[in-house]
Amino acid sequence: MTPLLQVETIAKFYGSRIGCADVSFDLYPGEVMGIVGESGSGKSTLLNCLAGHLTPDRGAVRFDTRAQGLRDTITMSEPERRMLGRTDWAFVHQHARDGLRMNVSAGGNVGERLMAVNARHYGDIRNEAIDWLGRVEITEDRIDDRPTAFSGGMQQRLQIARNLVTGPRLVFMDEPTGGLDVSVQARLLDLLRGLVREMNLSAIIVTHDLAVVRLLADRLMVMKDGHVIETGLTDQVLDDPQHAYTQLLVSSVLQV
């Protein structure tokens, strides 16, 4: 089977400071990969390199495109990469305001990606927006409200709807539950798990919350100082960590 994403020895430096280095892995369709590690370990840097937001200094990121199979997204033209960014890829930011247009209604936010790929029937766009708002548990009567009138949890659910409306084949998420109250996190996590299963989503999720990966990720990568130090099936890594740092990470969570 062709991997959906093939990452080969990616490295990104900020001057002489290491962002991430020597990261390689394959992601297969329908798979959810979790990336964990302490603050500053390079999780966001890696994710942004994979999603085309940052240009890595070394390595290749090959995506199984619809038309031409595996293509290196780093060397492809910017228009092609941006096209992927609003069709086959989705990016869920930690802070909803980074991923939403705060001066546009909820319906407009969800509809934007549809209009970006030339949807030109208002009624259809609106119906699709209503459908997707429903799927993230936002009632239809909020469709014309701006995200500024929404709670943090609602904003995050709106961001997810806005991203998933075009049926992306790969979803990048950077701390999707970060910064939310614990009870709100649980509900969002539940919703995400439902969507991942229902849509058979392929995703890469960055988090430092092990509960998030336990629930969502099939596989896990543990990062430290820009490098991947352990990788494996989620349950295996969490229940029987091999690397001393992973053992520490797992145990410190258990103490919480």
Partner: protein, 289 residues
């Protein structure tokens, strides 16, 4: 008069502006940056349009200025006087007699000919600005033809007002490529953007020039189920009876009496001279004009 170079700007500046104009004509709807000069008038008075007019005027030209369709507003009178003084060109209020027409907020009712140039004063040239404040990002959107955001604006219009409420500066796509702000003309004027004359747009503060060459395709953006409609008040002109012209509404007395009249004053006067009389009009007399 001898204190100024012809049309106020020095020859080098005019050449620089002409280059921007030619580039604009070569790439219809594309915003060409130019080094806007200080003009002896405030920005709100259309310094972008004034600089473009200065660059295209020749001593043989006949110049007309309209503001909201009228030749007699302070703004129109000042700009007309400015070029009378600095370029010594002939001026006119008659659309058919003008070779260069500078305008704010309207396109003349009368069809322009191939030997006429229409110069627009533009306050905000970037149609995507409303939703995307970053200049870097909007340039990229134009370069890559990523115009989905323009429809988000129309979507918001319909969701809030039940219809596309944008009545002025209604966005258009030029020759199937660049999305362009036609300046704050009423959308009633949008169909006239496909014309025989040359159209030049100048934004002074924002330092942009763009253009529509003659007979270029200009399509107003819309949705399949909410098609573009070039609406106007559902009346005839009360002075000249015209049913096809854009109308201004005027409150005429304390009792709420109102009156509709052509916003294009030359068009209205010409019709009245020809003997057309509207519902509240009186027959045209030379001294009453």
């Amino acid at each position: 008069m001898s204190d100024y170079n012809f049309a106020y700007l020095d020859e080098q500046t005019k050449r620089m502006i002409r280059r921007a104009i030619l580039k604009g004509l070569a790439i219809p709807g594309y915003q060409v940056p130019f080094a806007s000069r200080e003009m002896p008038m405030p920005y709100g008075w259309g310094t972008g349009g004034v600089q473009v007019s200065a660059a295209v005027l020749t001593p043989d030209d006949t110049f007309k200025v309209i503001d909201q369709g009228a030749d007699d507003t302070t703004n129109a009178v000042s700009i007309r006087r400015f070029f009378q003084k600095t370029a010594g060109v002939a001026v006119t209020e008659a659309t058919s007699e003008a070779s260069v027409i500078q305008t704010r907020h309207r396109i003349p009712e009368q069809d322009l000919r191939a030997d006429q140039i229409l110069v627009y004063q533009v306050p905000i040239p970037e149609p995507l600005r409303f939703l995307e404040p970053s200049e870097v990002e909007t340039r990229k959107m134009h370069a890559l033809e990523e115009y989905g955001l323009m429809h988000v604006k129309l979507y918001e219009d319909i969701s809030q007002h039940g219809d596309i409420a944008t009545a002025y500066a209604y966005p258009v796509k030029v020759e199937g490529r660049y999305v362009m702000d036609p300046s704050p003309i009423p959308k009633f004027d949008n169909p006239k953007l496909e014309m025989a004359g040359i159209q030049l747009f100048g934004a002074g503060r924002e330092q942009r020039i763009y253009a529509i060459p003659p007979y270029t395709q200009v399509v107003s953006l819309d949705f399949d189920d909410y098609p573009f409609q070039p609406t106007k008040a559902d009346h005839a002109c009360d002075l000249c009876g015209a049913e096809d012209s854009y109308l201004d509404e005027l409150i005429v007395d304390d009792a709420g009496g109102r009156m509709f009249m052509c916003s294009d004053t030359d068009y209205c006067a010409t019709r009245r001279k020809q003997g057309h009389v509207g519902a509240q009009g009186v027959p045209y007399k030379e001294d009453a004009a």
